[in-house]
């Protein structure tokens, strides 16, 4: 079976700057893969290219959803279309809908899986009502999975930091992705919260069957969690392999010069 995400020779130029330089990357169903690299290496740009926020200069982004098995090139599609196809992401600097409640944030995630239009909203026909009820219940279930149910009616901006990070994941899960892209999910978390996040990510993969690609700075998290690792520096892929190999790779150590990569 084809990899669910297959990126070939992805390139992104900003003016004269090549932020992503011919990067190849693939992910098989059910894997947890990490993309690491020093600050400014082009990791977030890579995410943006895959999720449609920016249009890549060259290369191919191919997806093969496990449900259909059909391969499709998604370069240049709009972000919302890509989300509809089954890719969902979180953001490095939290981007919740601050003045909406926790539940509503997750309900927004259900948006692409809902059908109600203007007329449905006004008339509240049985189908719309049923859909609305279903969405509320589904969203609540997702909150429970991420231990957020006690905040259900709280405004997102009033949540503690760690909970906000979890809510971003909950919101992305609500879109029913087959691949979840997490952009530095542990940023700003304390060790305790990071350990919990570790469990959460594994649980999402195991029980929900969602494949995961994450960008991370926290090396302990990356090493314990990921099955394969890609390392980028100055936009170029410099190493790829299992955590043990990466740890001892001299190129990687050079790139991280000074940064610790002990598990």
């Amino acid at each position: 079976m084809a990899p669910i995400l297959d990126v070939k020779k992805l390139r992104m130029d900003f003016g004269g700057l090549r932020a992503v330089n011919d990067v190849d990357l693939y992910i098989n169903e059910g894997e947890i893969v990490a993309l690491i690299g020093p600050n400014g290496a082009g990791k977030t740009t890579f995410f943006n290219c895959i999720t449609g926020v920016t249009k890549p200069t060259a290369g191919d982004v191919m997806i093969t959803p496990p449900s259909s098995g059909k391969t499709e090139r998604i370069n240049g599609l709009k972000p919302n279309t890509i989300t509809e196809r089954g890719l969902a992401r979180t953001f490095q600097n939290i981007r919740l809908f601050q003045n909406m409640t926790v539940l509503e944030n997750v309900m927004i995630g259900r948006h692409p899986r809902m059908k109600a239009g203007v007329l449905g909203a006004i008339l509240r026909d049985p189908r719309t009502k049923a859909e609305e009820k279903q969405v509320i219940e589904d969203s609540y279930e997702i909150l429970k999975k991420l231990n957020l149910e006690m905040f259900v009616n709280e405004l997102a901006k009033n949540l503690p930091y760690g909970a906000q990070r979890r809510l971003e994941i909950a919101r992305a899960m609500a879109t029913e992705p087959f691949l979840l892209l997490l952009d530095e999910p542990a940023a700003g978390m304390n060790p305790q919260e990071t350990r919990e996040l570790d469990d959460t990510i594994v649980r999402i993969r195991d029980t929900e069957g969602i494949t995961i690609l994450l960008i991370e700075h926290d090396m302990s998290l990356v090493m314990s969690l990921s099955e394969r690792i890609y390392v980028v520096d100055y936009g170029k892929l410099i190493a790829t392999g299992v955590p043990e190999d990466i740890k001892s790779n001299p190129e990687v150590i050079k790139a991280y010069l000074g940064e610790e990569i002990n598990a």
């Binding site: 977030t44 995410f47 943006n48 926020v53 920016t54 953001f91 490095q92």
Partner: protein, 302 residues
């Protein structure tokens, strides 16, 4: 095609553009630093014009040289307008720094209404003729059919103000602080820039240039009332947006483009549709260049 007519329209456009530019500077600077459309900015221009009118009227009886009266009136107008500008910022905008942006906009609209009616009540609702203080310059006689003295003074003054302004922004400490604050307020604060002072200074400079515009236009047009600020303010704002709001060279370019468009539009097509040219031009430019002529494209930061 009559070339004298063309030159006349061209100079007329430059004159209009100069006035717009003097007002638009304040708009674009304030926007660059606190992202506020300062709706009351046009009122500062009006207050500048009125102050000059009042001062020159009061000094008319002293028998001083008219040119001297004009200069005194202009200086007083600048000082007072700048004072109004910074007071307005303290009362209506400073408490709203952390509030939703639209709240500050409504506060600015309220301020605009307040100042208009304040001048209306304290002075008059009628048009007041502005005293003729500037004698005709002799060397302009040969070209008097295409350019008069006040036009000449407007163009020269605007050029001087623009040069001083550029020097201020480029080379002085406060100018650098202003640019830094416009880029990133939090970083500016971290490197020790007193952001409140920078904002105050921005209002001070913006109000002063608007007042200069007010004094110049009233001596050119010859009459003023309490309402002139609103229309001029909207036009200058259009100019600032046309050039790319937040960009200082953009505001100047936008103002001249707008002034010339209006001048040629009314001169060659129809004077009934004067404002339509300005607005339609703005719409067309923004459809093709969504961030204005010189504005930086709004980059999505993720």
């Amino acid at each position: 095609m009559n070339s004298t007519y063309f030159i006349e329209l061209f100079l007329g456009g430059l004159t209009r553009g100069s006035i717009y530019a003097l007002i638009a500077l304040g708009y674009t600077m304030v926007y660059g630093i606190i992202q506020l459309i300062n709706f009351a900015h046009g009122e500062i221009y009006m207050i500048g014009a009125f102050t000059a009118l009042i001062v020159s009227g009061a000094l008319a009886f002293t028998g001083l040289d008219p040119v001297l009266i004009f200069l005194i009136a202009a200086v007083v107008a600048v000082v007072w307008s700048a004072s109004y500008g910074i007071t307005m910022e303290k009362i209506a905008y400073k408490p709203l720094r952390k509030a939703p942006r639209l709240s500050a906009l409504i506060s600015a609209i309220g301020m605009s209404m307040f100042l208009q009616n304040y001048v209306l009540l304290a002075q008059t609702s009628d048009f007041q003729p502005f005293p003729e203080l500037i004698p005709d310059l002799a060397f302009l006689d040969p070209v008097s059919n295409i350019m008069n003295t006040t036009q000449f003074i407007i163009l020269v003054t605007t050029a001087v103000v623009m040069i001083l302004f550029t020097l201020l922004i480029r080379y002085t400490r406060i100018g650098k602080a202003m640019r830094a604050t416009a880029q990133d307020k939090i970083m500016a604060q971290l490197v020790g820039i007193n952001v409140n002072r920078v904002i105050m200074f921005t209002f001070l400079i913006g109000s002063s240039t608007a007042a200069i515009g007010g004094v110049l236009i009233s001596s050119h047009v010859g009459q003023i009332n309490f309402y002139i600020g609103f229309i001029a303010g909207i036009k200058a704002f259009v100019a600032a947006v046309l050039g790319g709001i937040g960009s200082i060279p953009g505001a100047v370019l936008g103002s001249f483009v707008l002034g010339l468009t209006e001048s040629f539009g009314t001169g060659y097509i129809s004077s009934d549709y004067e404002d339509v040219f300005a607005f339609a031009f703005l719409i067309i430019i923004l459809i093709f260049r969504p961030s204005g002529l010189l504005g930086k494209p709004t980059k999505k930061k993720v």
